[in-house]
């Protein structure tokens, strides 16, 4: 049984991403959080370096790599700016929706701009009546004179204010058993009747915009239907697993690493009773626990990503990774805030942001409760 080992190319890739993040993102991370601002200029730079289309094939303008490389990028970004990582993560949802389910025309039309970061994307499923309960969506799309007319309101949608290419699910009918059937549509933000709504003021992950999408008699042609009529729910759930949860796990892992590195630095430098804090056993135990959370989250995340790339369903493994990495980030952040004492609660230090970001990851891509339901379901069947 071989150890989890990255290829030389993946290690080089990580190093290149880390250099970019440390020079361009780290210096502004605190300000992005304070101002709750999505940095379009940095996203464009990331696009040029290939981050936005990391898993998109070369023929459509992407880097032609895979989910492991994507996870590496999200981990490195999450280490310093989890909010920005969230924006990129969500962009990938829209990108993969079109890549995996689009017609050749749709792929050629949208992927080059999305892969290069010239345009931003998002996936809009959640509504006030349907988040964890996705079947509770009320948005509708009705055929009218050869077009689809979409009405409804999505909420808690990341990249709401910035996405030019939105993938939106709406009810288009009923299935054979009389249950609601959903379809997915590609809706560009310039379409009449479409607008981003109110932006939320979030506790964490504040480098990304999150808010409502309002569809008011939004008219789109047949060419906008994505993945065939009635397949919307299947597509969305598949994307949540393959792209959403793996992405959140990687971001959570990045936050754990941030807590570990900052905690170690503080423990080494802070002097108490004439010795560095790191000499105290109680502190050593805290550092050890965070380290263990990091090691475990790392293995769960990259193993789950690897399994999925290999073709396995990996629903339980991915849910477990998301659950563990995000809850682990919350634990790590609390431990690190505590060991930093007074310094932990001053905003000059980033650990408060790590905590808020970690708490916010719990509800993204499926809550911890849902993750446990998925794992239990697979385990008990």
């Amino acid at each position: 049984m071989a150890e989890l080992k990255f290829t030389q190319q993946q290690e080089m890739l990580r190093k290149a991403v880390r250099e970019f993040v440390e020079k361009e993102v780290k210096p502004v991370a605190a300000r992005l959080d304070a101002e709750s601002r999505f940095p379009m200029d940095i996203f464009v730079k990331m696009g040029k370096l290939g981050f936005a289309g990391v898993f998109v094939p070369r023929q459509y303008g992407g880097a032609g790599l895979g989910m492991t490389e994507r996870a590496i990028i999200l981990e490195e970004l999450g280490r310093h700016a989890a909010g920005l990582a969230m924006a990129l993560m969500t962009h990938h949802l829209g990108v993969d929706a079109i890549l995996s389910y689009g017609t050749e025309e749709q792929k050629k039309k949208y992927l080059p701009d999305l892969a290069s970061g010239r345009k931003i994307s998002g996936l809009a499923v959640t509504e006030p009546t349907g988040g964890s309960d996705v079947a509770g969506q009320l948005a509708t799309a009705v055929r009218e004179n050869g077009n689809w007319v979409i009405n409804g309101r999505k909420c808690f949608i990341t990249n709401s204010s910035n996405a030019e290419v939105n993938v939106i699910t709406a009810r288009t009918g009923e299935d054979a058993k009389g249950r609601p059937a959903f379809s997915a549509f590609i809706v560009e933000n310039a379409v009449e009747g479409f607008s981003p709504g109110r932006e939320e003021d979030k506790v964490g992950l504040r480098g990304s915009s999150t808010g409502d999408l309002l569809m008011n008699g939004c008219k789109v042609g047949d060419a906008s239907l994505l993945g065939g009529e009635g397949n919307g729910m299947k597509m969305a759930l598949s994307l949540f697993t393959k792209i959403g949860r793996t992405g959140m796990a990687a971001i959570g892992l990045g936050i754990i690493r941030a807590c570990l590195e900052d905690g170690v630095k503080f423990a080494r430098e802070r002097v108490l009773y004439g010795k560095p804090l790191s000499k105290l056993q109680a502190i050593q135990f805290e550092i050890a626990r965070t380290r263990i959370d990091y090691e475990a989250a790392r293995l769960l995340t990259y193993n789950a990503v690897g399994l999925k790339e290999g073709g396995a369903g990996a629903d339980a493994e991915i849910a477990a990774a998301k659950y563990f990495a995000t809850e682990g980030a919350v634990r790590a952040a609390k431990r690190t805030m505590d060991l930093m004492g007074g310094y932990g609660v001053i905003n000059e230090y980033p650990v408060g942001r790590y905590m808020r970001d970690a708490l916010t990851t719990i509800s993204c891509g499926g809550t911890s409760h849902i993750m446990q339901i998925i794992v239990a379901g697979q385990t008990l069947n």
Partner: protein, 268 residues
């Protein structure tokens, strides 16, 4: 004009961020550099960026040349991920202990091996040695025009060059023509980040290793034997002072500092 052949001299150096780890072996009096990771000499990124910008404008080839132990050859792949078509590593036991002129001899031989060339670019100085000698000496050995301290470079397709070099309190505009060797300062440009596509591309780019025999350099001109400069005693300079703690709250500290300023006669 099918573009230029630009050679960029690059050097893996111990990571300046890890300088605190440098040790002098008390028994041998020699530097112990174990455990210090290698990075691309920071100035060299600027030289490479300048070469890539010229390649984007005019086409042509960019070859990286480095005199470095074979074990550091993979650092060259990181440079290739930023850009460049191939790397040539000049490595041989015989090169160890070279001073800047001996190093320049090896580099000149390496450049001759990949000749013809139009332009050789190098970072002005290396983070560990900091001599600034190599661009000038490589130029002399190759018998071409050379300039150091370049902060701006304009090249025309016909090979005419207008370079701006930094001097204290100003700059000099110099005209010349290719072929040339230029040492560039960091302020000349902002090096590009390495993209994912660059990392992928670097995997397939050739990295050749050439030794003394391949280069046809005689042992007498290189390495310790070929160096006019010899190192002697190593020591850790200490700049210790009395380190008196100024006690008390900020107000008292401020009073103390004012007192010092007065005592030294710098406060009216």
């Amino acid at each position: 004009m099918s573009g230029f052949h630009i050679v960029v001299l690059v050097k893996p150096v111990p990571d300046p961020g890890c300088y605190d780890r440098v040790e002098i072996d008390p028994a041998t009096g020699v530097l112990a550099r174990q455990g210090m990771p290698s990075v691309l000499n920071p100035s060299d990124r600027h030289a490479l960026e300048e070469a890539l910008a010229l390649q984007e404008r005019f086409g042509g080839r960019v070859t990286l040349v480095s005199m470095t132990p074979e074990s550091s050859a993979e650092t060259l792949r990181e440079a290739l991920a930023m850009g460049g078509d191939e790397a040539v590593v000049l490595s041989d036991r015989a090169f160890a202990g070279s001073d800047s002129l001996a190093t320049s001899r090896v580099l000149a031989a390496g450049i001759a091996k990949v000749a013809p060339f139009d332009l050789v670019l190098a970072g002005n100085e290396s983070a560990d040695g900091g001599t600034v000698h190599v661009p000038s000496q490589v130029g002399e050995l190759l018998g071409v025009a050379h300039l150091a301290n370049v902060i701006r470079l304009e090249v025309d397709p016909d090979g005419s060059v207008r370079a701006r070099t930094r001097i204290e309190n100003g700059y000099v505009e110099v005209e010349a023509a290719l072929p040339m060797v230029l040492g560039v300062r960091r302020e000349i440009n902002s090096p590009r980040y390495t993209s994912l596509m660059g990392v992928i591309a670097s995997q397939g780019k050739p990295i050749r290793v050439l030794g003394a025999e391949d280069l046809g350099v005689g042992r007498s001109g290189v390495g310790m034997e070929g160096s006019n400069m010899r190192p002697g005693k190593l020591s850790r300079p200490g700049y210790r002072r009395k380190g008196e703690r100024v006690k008390g709250d900020p107000e008292e500290a401020v009073s103390r500092i004012v007192g010092i300023l007065r005592a030294e006669g710098v406060l009216g």
